[in-house]
Every structure is written in structure tokens, then in C-alpha cells.
Subunit: 177 residues, 2 copies
Amino acid sequence: MRPLLLAAFAFALLPPMGDGVTPTDSPRFRGQDLVRPEGHDRWPVVCTSIGLSYAAPMANDGPGAFHRVYMNPSAYETFKRTGIFPEGTTFVLEIHESAEKTSIARGGFFEGKRIALEASVKDSKRFRSGWAYFGFANGALASATPNDDSQCHSCHVKHGKIDSVFVQFYPNLRDRR
Amino acid sequence: MRPLLLAAFAFALLPPMGDGVTPTDSPRFRGQDLVRPEGHDRWPVVCTSIGLSYAAPMANDGPGAFHRVYMNPSAYETFKRTGIFPEGTTFVLEIHESAEKTSIARGGFFEGKRIALEASVKDSKRFRSGWAYFGFANGALASATPNDDSQCHSCHVKHGKIDSVFVQFYPNLRDRR
């Protein structure tokens, strides 16, 4: 059995979605606070970038940090099929220091120590702007309060290519093969 | 149900492994040729790097390409639990051009067009050196012949930190949390 069939088989055993029943990888809340997702390292990764910034870099800036974005599997399958982010879509952002000149690597950069763990969730009933953004103090917090819209959403909503998401930087969503 | 529980539930429905029964995400061969893995974009990503090279870069070199490495889920679970790569471990390497200055990004790099799709497999019975390495012409080939050991394995076996694998560059295997 192939992985996709396996996934289909597993989901077939679960209650149907789309009528108020939540899939198993849906975000969990305590009030407005998001419970830190577990096992996100098993989720599909939609992009990695390094040093991405919205201001011109200075000449002596280093390479910057790696950003790696994971997406919950049920929402990933829906987006690949429809191009729409369903309610409950969850992205997890890991930020890693860039590391270099280790072992046989003499040029280039790889992901060093993790320095941040954040998430965003689409929940139009819970959040006025549709999406909310959370920081988990690099995993130290078991749950997190939504950031103010001015911190993240104001830029996402203006520049994110599809539904406030920066799909233009995400090869696994941008190239929907 | 959490994703990990779901995975455990799905695997519980399958035949047991470890006694000659292969898990569902095992590599498939035609003779010595590896059939191109399907759905690897749903597999865990163990690392991303940019421009990693084993020679000192020249001053006018660009940032280089992004390398993104996926691992088949059953082997990932085994490694996280034991620190050992089981027979059938499969890595898929995607290489993406580095892209920049798109949309609001004025600094840094993100993954552009995919330019290569490769894989490595551990199969000690099939391959004398334990591991074999394959190129799929960026996905154009449905199956691929093993590369000569001198092309990949000779370096992997010498410098890969664990069992010919460059775990030193792979945060999701290096930091076994």
C-alpha cells in the first residue's frame, strides 16, 4: 500500500469532515489561546527560506536565519485538491540559526540551532481577521495568546498571495503538482 | 486524536514489520533500479541547506541552490526511537534554484524552480556498500539505475556522521527530541 493510500485508509476510519466535525490534526484552543501543536515535524514542509527580509539588507548583514514552514496534513490535502485553505489550516514556523563550516562543508549554510517556534491558524469564527498568529517561546510555552494583528496579520493580508498566505514563496503550494 | 496517535493507529492496522514484511513506504525496485517514490512531499523533511559545498566558494559565487531532504515516515519513526537507520530507509533530495527579490522580499532567498530529484536507499542485501544513490532527471524518469559508488557513496561513507548519512547537517535527526 502506498503512503497516500495509507493516509486515505486512515482518514476513512475517522468521522467525516466539513460539517462541523474536526479532523484529527485540527488546532486545539483554550479560549483564544492555541495549544502548541504536537508532532509537527511529521507534517509536510511547504517552504524553507534564508534571511528573507522586507527591508534592503545592509552590506555587512550575515546570511540571516532559516525559516521552515510546516502545514497540517488534512489542510495540505485540501489545498492541493482545491487551492483553498480550509478552516483549521495550521502553519508551524521553525526558525533555525544558519550554521556553516562544519564537517566537510566549506561553503554554504545549513540549519543550526532552533531559535523560534511559531504558528498561524485560520479560524474565521474565532478571529475577526480570519487568521491569528502565535509565538511559543521556541517551544517553552504549552499554549500561546494570539499576537496583535499589527504584528503579523497586517503584512500577511496585504502581501500574502492567496488568503493572507505567502504562497509565492512556498514551492509545495505554488507548484500544485 | 492527535497526529501521532493517528499514525500509530494506521500502522496498527498493517502487518507487523521486522520479520521480512515491508512497511508501506518501502522502496520499490525493478531489478536494481529504484522506482521513483510517490507522494514524498508528504514525508518528514530532515534538513534544508543552501549552497553547501565541499570546496571553498569563490568570491563571485552566487548563494547556490537549496537542498531539501525528505525521509520515508516508517524509517523516520524508527530512527527517532532507536538512532538506527533500518533497512529500506529512503531519502529523497529535491534541489531548488534560489530565488530572490520577489513580491515584498528585498533580502534573503527562498526556494525557486525545482531542478533535481534524487534518492538514496539503504538495502544491504541488494547493494554491496549498503546504500545506493539514484537520480530521476528532476522527475522525468519513472525509475533510475544506481549511481556508481564513486559518485556519491565514497564521500557519504567517509564523512556522513551516522551510517553514511550526513546527520550533522540534519536538525530533525541530529536533535532527536
